[in-house]
Symmetry: C2
Subunit: 331 residues, 2 copies
């Protein structure tokens, strides 16, 4: 990649300014020079150096995405939406797998800032003060996806987790279930954790149903933890007829536990998931779950990132229940 703009200029017998104009589709040259220069470009295989360009126009056409775990349907589907819009608008996306690790995250943030990314998408993770302070200092658009932090100045795109959990629980109740357990995400998580727990509890209370701590088991949103949480719930002898899970993966974990115990689904236990990733569709029985418009969430977030940092709106996307075969109707 040694060929530079001056190589082209020399080869075509013009100045670098002219080559630049032609490359950038600016006016100011005769058709003949244009042809001549374009021929040289092809012949030499000239590729403008984005760094040099970026240095002068202060543009990198690159954004950064921080996510807790690249492996996982939720992240993947989100990434798909992000990538789609990013490419359409001419941006490249740098992915940063934080592994939920603070140091790692800060290290990425540092890199992204040095690389002068033009925006950052912060996904599915709680925005700590440390992150917030750093991000603010960057003076670039940031949008929180599937998370939010009212104390920060950043806009966000997510569903209403409380309402969503309420509605998932309500769905179970409406189908005649009264003894319902919750497989929650991490309790400390202020976004995908607590609000979903509260939504569950509220729905249960509104229906005068039991929902003390005994009905709740905690996981980390992933499969294995779903198995463990279901085992835990099962060991408490609550005679549950249904379980609400805070993620599809944990719901599948619960199913796996039941299968292993030789129980029938949904006859012996109804399960509702959360997310509606491909996992839900592939499960057996196919998982009834709370649908989040994941890919759309990624698209909207990317749109916001591009449309400038101005609007600090908290966008709430619609959710709904996708009915499949994992909930038995007791009515």
């Amino acid at each position: 990649m040694a060929v530079t703009i001056s190589d082209v200029a020399r080869h075509a017998g013009v100045s670098i300014a002219t080559v630049s104009r032609i490359v950038n589709n600016l006016p100011g040259y005769s058709p003949e020079t244009k042809d001549k220069v374009e021929a040289s470009i092809v012949e030499l295989g000239y590729k403008p150096n984005a760094m040099a360009r970026g240095l002068v126009n202060r543009k990198t056409n690159t954004i950064g995405v921080l996510l807790p775990c690249v492996t996982g349907r939720f992240s993947s589907e989100l990434l798909r939406g992000i990538e789609k819009i990013a490419h359409a608008k001419g941006y490249s996306v740098i992915i940063c797998n934080t592994d939920m690790n603070g140091e790692r995250t800060m290290s990425y943030l540092k890199t992204l800032s040095e690389k002068r990314v033009e925006g950052i998408l912060f996904i599915s993770e709680w925005l700590t003060d440390e992150y917030a302070v750093f991000l603010e200092s960057l003076q670039i658009p940031v949008v929180l996806v599937a998370t939010s932090n009212p104390a920060s100045p950043f806009p966000s795109v997510k569903v209403d987790d409380f309402a969503a959990a309420y509605s998932a629980t309500r769905y179970l109740i409406d189908h005649g279930h009264t003894r319902i357990g919750l497989i929650s995400g991490t309790e400390k998580d202020p976004i995908a954790g607590r609000p979903r727990i509260e939504g569950f509890k509220r729905a249960m209370k509104d229906a005068d149903l039991r929902c003390d701590q005994a009905c709740i088991a905690f996981g980390d949103f992933h499969f294995e933890s779903g198995i463990a949480a279901m085992a835990e719930l099962d060991s408490r002898g609550l005679e549950l007829s249904a379980v609400c899970a805070a993620s599809d993966e944990m719901a599948l974990g619960a199913m796996t536990y039941m299968h292993r115990m030789g129980r029938k689904l949904p006859e012996d236990l109804s399960i509702i998931g959360f997310d509606d990733t491909l996992d839900a569709l592939m499960a057996y029985p196919a998982l009834t779950t709370l649908h989040q418009p994941i890919e759309l969430m990624g698209e909207r977030a990317m749109d916001m990132l591009c449309s400038g940092t101005a609007d600090d709106r908290q966008i709430i996307l619609e959710h709904h229940i996708t009915e499949r075969d994992s909930v038995k109707d007791l009515r």
Copy 2:
């Protein structure tokens, strides 16, 4: 991000050269100046501009990853491995979701070349001549992952697809199955398609079993196509006792078809998958599948990318069968 090296220099009352030395940990300054400068850096919130740096040292510390579909466990798990090593070695990774689209791919390739990425990982897709020519012109390390092209000069990391398919089929045969179908990927795919078909056929022939075209249905490696392919196979009245799928997702599709038809697994049909992603573990019954060391593949590829373009070795990683519950032993 307006603060530059000269702001720091001015603030600290030294020259930019000194600041540069300190920032880059080069020798040549007294402890006092160092402290002074570092204080200024913190106070002003100076972040070295990676573009400016890159322009002079011709380094971007960035690599590009081209993959057909970010959504999908295989890609995700690979990405995890790639990202892990990349971060450890100080590289950022730009993801490019080609969607198996030629134009889109070329457009990404162009962008990556202008951004002067230092290496490219080309994943799971057939390397066409067009791509190969372009990639060669870039003069940077390229490694093919889960694909390969002997006609190209690029090294690759993958499993032996023929041998793997042979061994998956053989596993079924060893468990007493004689009427076995294949849910193949796209026939034209010279890597994940044909070799797996050939491996299947060879295993069947070696055992004197029927394996004509009627035993094979084609999908596109994804879930829905697995359902369709299984339906197709089923409609041919072959009395199959087992099916070999060229991806876990298609295997799950086949399972879903069977469940929908009210058949029992693995009693009515044994199924073996390919990949051993988390999907296989979460399936019901848990899927016995041909294990590819996916994350490791990503790590190795990234290692090769960094260790220079010198070795054009075709690395073949070990595969094995992960036994779970989807294959019935007929012996």
